[in-house]
């Protein structure tokens, strides 16, 4: 109960900071829209590459990637806020005041989720407005958005683990870069079967490839690798939960 009270307080404060500060709020919404525009608009001709077979079309193909990317970066951007809280001294006061400190991590995670839900709503609205085709039914869409929620949770846990260990805004690239790499070493532009050479080898072993392919399967109405994708996403979140908690202990030790 006390954990939840702490989580609620931290989440409310984080969301208040984000939603009342356009320089924090707007990039989180604009960047996914921008990537969606650049990829779906500029690269739409890719769907005429021999072997490209995704019935809902290239816009939908890219939408899934950008949705998952926005979920992951929603978590990372919230991690920047944690680092800022440490730099400003707020996080240390929070550590002193919170009766159950696990609630701090949970609170940031709740804030990351709420923040991403706004982004996801805007992104989905824009995608539908530009004529994105959806092949899947309601259950499939729940599957797609559930995967994104788990990814958002995993990303904020990763970012909070880094922020709580390093406690400086200069840790931003360390939070961002691995997430960027794991996302872009998946089949971003074409399906896995069309990748060749080293990128095919990397994408094949990249756990996020399963999540991305399952997400695209959901949107097309032809679910594929669902169990593997959820297992991978949940395992990632579980491992990063431990990473975040150890980060919290590190911050506690630092005082």
């Amino acid at each position: 109960m006390r954990t939840f009270a702490v989580a609620r307080g931290v989440a409310w404060r984080t969301l208040h900071t984000v939603f009342t500060n356009p320089s924090l709020f707007i990039p989180g919404i604009v960047f996914p829209l921008f990537f969606f525009t650049a990829f779906a608009g500029g690269l739409s001709r890719i769907d005429s590459v021999p072997g490209f077979d995704y019935p809902p079309g290239y816009t939908a193909f890219q939408f899934v990637f950008v949705l998952l990317q926005s979920a992951a970066f929603g978590g990372v951007f919230t991690g920047f806020g944690i680092a800022r809280d440490f730099e400003g001294g707020f996080a240390r006061r929070l550590l002193l005041a919170a009766p159950h400190r696990t609630g701090i991590v949970l609170g940031y995670a709740l804030a990351a989720l709420a923040r991403w839900l706004v982004t996801a709503a805007v992104l989905t609205g824009v995608a539908l407005a530009v004529g994105m085709q959806i092949g899947g039914d309601g259950v499939d869409l729940v599957g797609l958005y559930s995967l994104a929620v788990i990814l958002n949770f995993a990303a904020i846990l990763w970012a909070s683990g880094v922020a709580m260990r390093l406690r400086t805004m200069q840790a931003g690239p360390i939070m961002q870069m691995p997430v960027f790499l794991i996302l872009f070493f998946a089949p971003v532009y074409v399906p896995l079967s069309l990748l060749q050479g080293w990128i095919h080898a990397v994408a094949t072993v990249n756990p996020l490839t399963r999540v991305l392919e399952a997400g695209r399967g959901f949107l097309a109405g032809t679910p594929t690798e669902v169990a593997t994708a959820f297992a991978v996403a949940i395992a990632l979140a579980a491992i990063l939960w431990l990473w975040a908690l150890r980060g919290l202990r590190s911050a506690e030790r630092a005082g």
Binding site: G41, G42, L43, R45, P50, F52, Q196, W198, I199
Partner: protein, 260 residues
């Protein structure tokens, strides 16, 4: 003041600008590594695009090698602007204005450091391109033209960053320009030749976007050879950006020093 004294002033400030950049590893490594990383990701992921009928080359790495040159120049903008903004915020520029140093030397010195970094970046991108098997269709002379072009765009974008810094006096405001430049980069012919872009509005935007011509100039030297039209458009665009940015930056410097 003699020409020699002026040259000494410019050299001193250029050296300071360069040393300051070199002493911050993040300012050196990130502009070098990030564009190469993006090149690796895009060229791997989009290699299938070379199978689109009418695609101008069968190597996407060669097609995409132009992008790091422009990205490097964008990073130069950020570095130049942020460093100059820091000089304003710490009062260094004010103290400098009390010395007999000529105003234009301040700008030339700052940009000298940026251009040197831009040149080194271009050499690295070119070297990496060669190592991964890209051969310039325009040969050795093309490589020299490419390096000259890299210097010109580093000068133009560097002056733009300096203008932003002088107008705002804030490093954060200069950093805030980064997403705008990123938009210019992505809504261009970066990943697809303009004639193969299917979506009408995107093709129109890419055609109106000057960054497309900068990219196509570099790309022509790599995959086409000597394309007079692409070179004229690229050098023309870069020259206009450089002249306008330099004029704006020197006007902003005059205003800033008059205020202090």
């Amino acid at each position: 003041m003699s020409q020699r004294a002026f040259a000494d002033q410019v050299l001193l400030l250029a050296e300071r600008s360069l040393m300051r950049t070199l002493r911050q590893p993040a300012n050196v490594v990130f502009p070098l590594v990030f564009p190469l990383l993006l090149l690796a990701v895009n060229s791997g992921g989009l290699d299938a695009a070379t199978r689109i009928p009418g695609f101008p080359t069968d190597s996407f790495v060669a097609f995409a090698l132009a992008i790091p040159f422009i990205q490097g120049a964008l990073f130069a903008t950020m570095n130049a602007g942020t460093d100059l903004a820091r000089d304003i915020q710490t009062g260094f520029l004010n103290r400098l204005s009390l010395t007999p140093m000529r105003r234009i030397a301040v700008l030339a010195g700052q940009l000298g450091g940026v251009v040197t970094m831009g040149f080194v970046q271009a050499l690295v991108y070119l070297g990496v391109g060669m190592v991964i098997g890209v051969r310039l269709e325009s040969g050795v002379a093309g490589a020299l033209v490419l390096l000259a072009f890299a210097v010109l765009i580093a000068l133009g974008f560097g002056a733009l960053g300096a203008f932003a810094a002088l107008r705002t006096g804030s490093g954060e405001a200069v950093q805030g320009l980064f997403p705008i430049f990123f938009v210019f980069l992505f809504i261009s012919s970066m990943n697809m030749p303009r004639n193969l872009i299917e979506i009408d509005w995107f093709r129109t935007a890419a055609t109106a976007n000057p960054v497309s011509y900068l990219i196509e100039c570099v790309r022509s030297l790599i995959i086409t050879g000597w394309d007079g039209r692409a070179l004229a458009l690229g050098f023309g665009t870069a020259a206009v950006i450089a002249v306008v940015s330099l004029a704006l930056a020197s006007w902003a410097l005059r205003t800033r020093l008059a205020r202090s």
